[in-house]
Amino acid sequence: MDPGALMAAMGPHPASSFQPAVAGEEGYTDAEVMLRVKAGDESAFDYLVQKYRRPLVSFMYRMARNTAAAEDLAQEVFLRVYRSRQTYEASAKFTTWLYRIATNLAVNHARDTRHERPEVTVSLDEPDEETGTTLDVPDSKSTAEEFLVRRERMLAIRAKVEALPERQKLAVIMHKYQQMDYKQIADVLKLSESATKSLLFRAYETLREQLKEFV
């Protein structure tokens, strides 16, 4: 693969020449796009990066402790995809493979940093590291008190989801925030579909109980 060509395709806002049609029509599935990456098509890799960067950063943000780590981990997922391109086999759905890489990285990162306390910072201009929301200056409609209550609620949601057992947490993040169905989650976690349903029900039941005071 020519590094120069890939770099050109990977500009900050690249106009990818690879434009696959929607899967199921006459175009390519993601697995087929990945096979093109394997064959040396740089624009195909760029297409996958552009398609999955946002979902992966979002997934990693909810698994890791801050935005910087989330971006680092999401980039690491793409690097691993790139490194594995020669050995890639389209035997499973591309997203299953991608989220399996992401899950392994996120779990390892969580284990490595479990003793680190996340920084609790309040910034008026930038998205909060903890909650991911921009903390607007209170105006006539939104008082400082409302703002603090909202922030406390965000931290509680995060803390309760984070406190779930590892698999439950992963399942909730994939189901609730990545909009993945039971089968996809089951494939990533290597569980049966019924076990995944049961896992998710227990997780939501715990969250319903523990977040009662905030609803």
Binding site: M1, P3, L6, M7, M10, G11, P12, H13, P14, V49, R53, R54, V57, S58, Y61, R62, T67, A70, E71, A74, Q75, F78, L79, Y82, R83, P127, T131, G132, T133, R150, R153, M154, I157, R158, V161, K176, Y177, L200, F201, Y204, L207, R208, L211, K212, F214, V215
Partner: protein
């Protein structure tokens, strides 16, 4: 099923609606799930930063600049190199302490080498032994000739 219904991921069928209308416990639980799901929706994730692609480019460039991993790279890992050295040492140690191998112990090898050197007592004796064998072979050839004559003149 209830979390899916509460999130709107599953359609509320007339049958379910009918049950919820008549069952206070289930209706109450469903409402709680709906509120919990709405609360979870408030946890937003940030967009990738504008530097995301630039950093990824840099990391990809580093990745491409790396030399291809060959078998020699194994030796660059200190733990593996140390483990390999220990294993090699153990193997060599076992070979000699057990007297294994097709050549026997080191002493025997030295003795064999010494005995083959000409001019030594053992070497001369071995040469004599070989000569003796040679003379015995000549006798045998003589006998064969006698036998040959017998066959030629029946």
């Amino acid at each position: 099923m209830m979390p899916d219904l509460a999130s709107g991921l599953m359609e509320v069928t007339p049958e379910i609606r009918g049950h919820l209308a008549g069952c206070v416990a289930c209706a109450g639980k469903m409402e709680e799930f709906r509120q919990t799901m709405a609360l979870l929706d408030e946890w937003k994730a940030p967009e990738p930063s504008p530097y995301f692609d630039v950093r990824l480019q840099a990391r990809l460039r580093e990745e491409m600049a790396k030399p291809q991993a060959g078998w020699l790279t194994w030796f660059r890992r200190p733990v593996l190199a140390a483990a390999l050295t220990v294993l090699l040492g153990l193997g060599v140690g076992l070979f000699f302490t057990k007297g294994g191998g097709r050549y026997g112990s080191a002493d025997n090898v030295v003795a064999v080498i010494d005995s083959t050197e000409p001019g030594t007592a053992v070497g001369d004796l071995q040469a004599l032994e070989k000569n003796h064998d040679l003379y015995a072979d000549f006798d045998l050839l003589d006998d064969l000739e006698v036998q040959h004559d017998v066959v030629a003149n029946p």
